[in-house]
């Protein structure tokens, strides 16, 4: 489903990563690990079409990013590390806002079902009054309104309580299985990687990560 070939990213003289190769199928959950600055978030942003690679090719569902970028965005959802929600609106109002502008027709019942699936019932509460874990769930739920084929998450469980982490992890596994979605996400939590991911990709050259993965997995 996803093919990444000889992907490189440079900022001026600085090389973030070079000749990266990746192949993934629908239904997989791939964890990206690596040291800080290795390029995990950069790769995610390139896959999300938020950034352009310096060289290399990416194709999704046999369509190249170079020629079909705008069309492919219909199939991609990106959950940023920072909360991308309207703090002054309620949970349901946020869902309704993005539903109105979504490419897919989604009913109010579907929105409620989506919130229920991430275990977020407080739909009349303002986002500014939610806990960190609930905000992250909503952050994820909003991205799923468009029913994507490729879901990209940048540290979706950073800074939240254990229960919410477990719930999100369980939800992602269920989502990949039931909806046959390819999920790629970054995390520093090895327990979470072990619990959730079907495959791990190491970004960067730090041998520590190779060793720790061997011990863990």
């Amino acid at each position: 489903m996803l093919e990444v070939k000889s992907l490189s990213k440079k900022y001026g003289e600085k090389t973030v990563f070079e000749d990266l190769e990746l192949s993934a199928e629908a239904g997989e959950i791939i964890g990206l690990v690596g040291e800080n600055g290795a390029g995990k978030s950069t790769l995610l942003k390139i896959l999300a079409t938020l950034s352009l690679p310096s060289s290399g090719e990416i194709s999704l569902m046999n369509q190249t990013y170079r020629k079909n970028e705008k069309k492919l965005r219909e199939y991609i959802a990106y959950v940023p590390q920072d909360i991308a929600l309207f703090e002054e609106l309620t949970v349901m109002e946020n869902m309704k806002f993005f539903q109105k502008l979504s490419r897919k027709k989604v009913s109010k019942e579907d929105l409620k079902a989506l919130l229920s699936s991430v275990n977020l019932q407080a739909d009349q509460v303002k986002v500014s009054n939610l806990s960190g874990g609930m905000k992250r769930k909503l952050n994820l739920a909003v991205s799923l309104i468009s029913d994507p084929k490729l879901l990209l998450l940048d540290e979706p469980t950073a800074g939240i309580d254990l229960r919410s982490r477990i719930e999100i992890g369980a939800f992602l596994k269920k989502l990949a299985l039931e909806k046959n979605i390819l999920i790629i996400y970054t995390s520093h939590d090895m327990n979470e990687i072990e619990q959730v991911c079907s495959r791990v990709v190491i970004i960067g050259e730090d041998p520590f990560y190779s060793k720790i993965l061997k011990d863990f997995l």
Partner: protein, 367 residues
Amino acid sequence: MKVILARWLLLKGKRFKLLISMLLPLIVTIVITSIYHYTSDDFRVPVAVVVEEDAEVTSIIEGLKDADYIKLDVYDDINEPLRNLEQYQYDSLFVFDADFNEKLQNNERRNIIESYYTDRSFTYDAVKELIASLVQEEVGQYRLSQQVQTLQEDWLGENNLSFNDIVDTKKEIEEETNLVNQKFNFQGQVMEESPESSLNPLLIYGYAVLIFAFFTFDFVTRETNSETKHRFLYLSVSYKTFMLVSFLSLTILMYGFDIISYFILMDSKTNLLILLTYRLVINAFVFFTAFLSRNILSLYVNALLIFILLLVTQFLLSIIRLPNGLTWLASFHPVEELVSNQHNIYLVALVLIIFFIWLRRDNLVRS
């Protein structure tokens, strides 16, 4: 339509603030012009004039009333105004005796008017000079009338033109040919009369519209600097399209308030279309300033700086004559164009060009 509904969802919680910011230009204009008219009387110097019976001084009284700095009260008896002068309620007092006109006709030049002032009088000399010039004009009219009547008798053997007939004819001729008041126009161009020296409500309204537009469009700064902007990449409308529709919807809404303000505040000389093009220019200007501001504080600081800059440049334009080749510069001052009853056409064109360039640029800057 879905874009407007989505925008309404975001602004619903701030509808009260939005309504107030759209109403405030009208409210502020009414308040300021009311205060000005109420207090402008207080800034005029109170002067009393006593016109005794038989004194015919209508034109002199009219001349005194026309002076902006004088608040004139007319009496027929000296006692009350003199008492008020002693109590410093008047700056000065002038008395026209019953035989004032007779003295003028008899060519008397001295002691024809009684005057009184106090140790606190500060405009006595100026008012005295003004009365002297008005009396001089009156004397001139007597002279003219006498000359014309003499010529009529000598040459035509008749005397059927009265003093008033001669004076009225003189004034007509003065109005038609007096070079001081003559307006010179290019062919076909109609020059507007310069406004009377009172506060122009359009000026106040223009600046109020500018300031409160920043409060209306401050959401642009918040949303542009928020992570939510990136979500638009995956939606059916781009972020810029969403913002453009928001801009147009709010501008149309504000037009409603402008139309109401037009009928309440403005006179028939003001062109409604000019007011509406001004609104478009200002809203666009504020919109782009908000788009480029990194946070709300910098937006409001920019708002204040822009307000001061426009105010200062307008003041400079009113006192400095631009060289012949640079008069077009004044066309780029939106408030100046508004109060001059001009269409802001160059600025409208500039706005359209900027919108076109803005929309054509990539929706998100990507590295």
